[in-house]
């Protein structure tokens, strides 16, 4: 984090004062008071003054404004500046010969910084104007500092989010490598889950952030496989009943692992991640595991991830099997050969499968490249 000095003088701050007065002598006197420190610009009436202000927006550190002038008087200039919200940027001082109460009140109501009377007293004018210029300069500097710090904090927050996401992906990918897969599986599960939630009724009621969090949580569905021995996880053939029982524990072990990461508990994805890790092998008819949930006892996102997992497992080569053709994959899912899914989920899935297949083709090409 940068350190900022609030006493710092901003050397880039404007050092130009605009004097708007129809009387040349007044302009000379006011100019003389500030000419040793500031650049002076002059305008002989309100029209010329407004033109200078508009063509040099942000350039003037103060405007000294006469009241009675031909073409456009000082109050009219103030009205224009107020309507353009420029009185917050640049302090305006009304220089008036007569203390007409109505004029002074209107000027203050419009937002003039101060009213100075003519004939001016040089040191009074200088002191009052310079104090305000310094105040505005400091305020502008602090405003810039706050903006810069906010941008820095946002950038850091973004980095933390990216780091968290990167670590989650790294963890999930590391498990896949143990399983002799390339890491593509978790990417595909992420993509299918997100697409189905965004484009089917299974995402109804979920906002953009929630869908992103569920998709991110989906990549940790198999995190519990880290506890499964290599001999079982990488076994090329069919598992024995005993081995299968051990394999099934990756769901509960996954939740235990996620619960042990205390930092993850504060994350928006935690609840989704635990639910998906535990229930992505549940089935609509209650014949899944580990809790034998049935029907709508299984959350919509866990249902989506379980189907995405099956679709990807069948479509790709695994250590224990070759990849099936698209036709075969769809036939097996439809026939319930990998467990029974919610009929509405199947309808939703088949309505977007064409797109998912297209996506697979692109992902395969990208991975191949």
């Amino acid at each position: 984090m940068k350190h900022y000095n609030i006493n710092h003088r901003d050397e880039t701050a404007s050092k130009t004062i605009l004097i708007i007065d129809d009387d040349q002598i007044n302009r000379k006197i006011l100019g003389k008071i500030f000419s040793d420190t500031y650049e002076i610009r002059e305008a002989e009436n309100g029209n010329v003054g407004m033109a200078q202000i508009l063509s040099n927006r942000g350039r003037f550190c103060a405007i000294l404004l006469d009241v009675i002038m031909p073409e456009m008087d000082g109050i009219e200039v103030l009205r224009h500046l107020k309507s353009m919200k420029m009185l917050d940027e640049t302090p305006v001082f009304l220089i008036t010969a007569e203390q007409q109460v109505d004029v002074v009140r209107e000027a203050y109501e419009l937002g003039v910084m101060d009213v100075l009377t003519k004939p001016v007293t040089s040191y009074v004018v200088r002191r009052r104007v310079e104090s305000v210029i310094e105040l505005y300069t400091t305020r502008k500097y602090l405003h810039n500092v706050v903006e810069s710090q906010q941008a820095e904090l946002l950038m850091q927050a973004e980095k933390i989010i990216q780091l968290n996401q990167g670590m989650i992906e790294a963890l999930a990918t590391a498990i896949e490598f143990r399983n002799e897969e390339s890491g593509g599986h978790v990417n595909r599960i992420f993509t299918i889950t997100k697409y189905m939630l965004e484009n089917t009724e299974f995402g109804d009621g979920l906002n953009e952030d929630q869908i992103h969090n569920i998709a991110l949580a989906s990549i940790m569905h198999d995190v519990g496989k880290i506890t499964i021995p290599d001999a079982i996880l990488s076994k090329p053939g069919k598992l024995t009943a005993e081995e299968y029982e051990i394999m099934k524990t990756h769901t509960t072990q996954g939740v235990a692992l996620l619960e042990s990461i205390s930092q993850l508990k504060d994350s928006d994805i935690y609840e989704y991640a635990c639910d998906i890790a535990r229930h992505h092998h549940e089935r609509w008819n209650g014949k899944g595991y580990p809790d034998h949930l049935r029907g709508d006892e299984i959350t919509p996102w866990s249902q989506v991830v379980s189907l995405a997992d099956v679709y990807d497992a069948l479509s790709c080569k695994r250590v224990y099997k070759a990849a099936f053709s698209r036709h075969k994959v769809l036939e097996m899912i439809w026939a319930g050969q990998c467990g029974v899914f919610n009929p509405r989920l199947l309808d939703s899935f088949f309505s977007v499968e064409e797109h998912l297949n297209e996506m697979y083709r692109h992902l395969a090409e990208a991975e191949g490249a």
Partner: protein
């Protein structure tokens, strides 16, 4: 500054005028020259107080009041303040009388400035 004492004898507060321009004598002298031009360009005749263009007259008096005030030509400044107040108060006759008293004072100060200008 040349002619300072003569101006002070006529009631001009030269030090205050100089202070207003941060002690810059040449600038003050230049502005005295600008005052002479202003008096010539906007000379005010007593007859104007009887005319119809009182707004135009008020503008001229207002301008001269400002100039004399800036230069601390105090007797003139005070005189123009009075004339302007009377005009704005709808008393042109009284304003004319005040102006008639002011004209010789102004003439004296104008002559003094002219004599001391290079």
């Amino acid at each position: 500054m040349k002619g300072k004492e003569e101006l002070e004898k006529l009631g001009v507060d030269v030090d205050e005028g100089l202070d207003r321009v941060m002690g810059d004598e040449s600038l003050y002298e230049m502005m005295l020259g600008m005052f002479l031009e202003a008096v010539e360009e906007s000379s005010i005749e007593p007859g104007e107080f009887d005319g119809a263009d009182l707004d135009g007259l008020i503008r001229k008096v207002h301008a001269l009041k400002g100039t004399t005030g800036n230069l601390s030509l105090t007797p003139l400044f005070e005189g123009y303040v009075e004339v302007l107040g009377l005009l704005r108060g709808g008393q042109p006759k009284e304003a004319k009388a005040a102006m008639e008293k002011l004209i010789p004072v102004q003439k004296e100060i104008v002559e003094c400035i002219k004599q001391n200008q290079g």
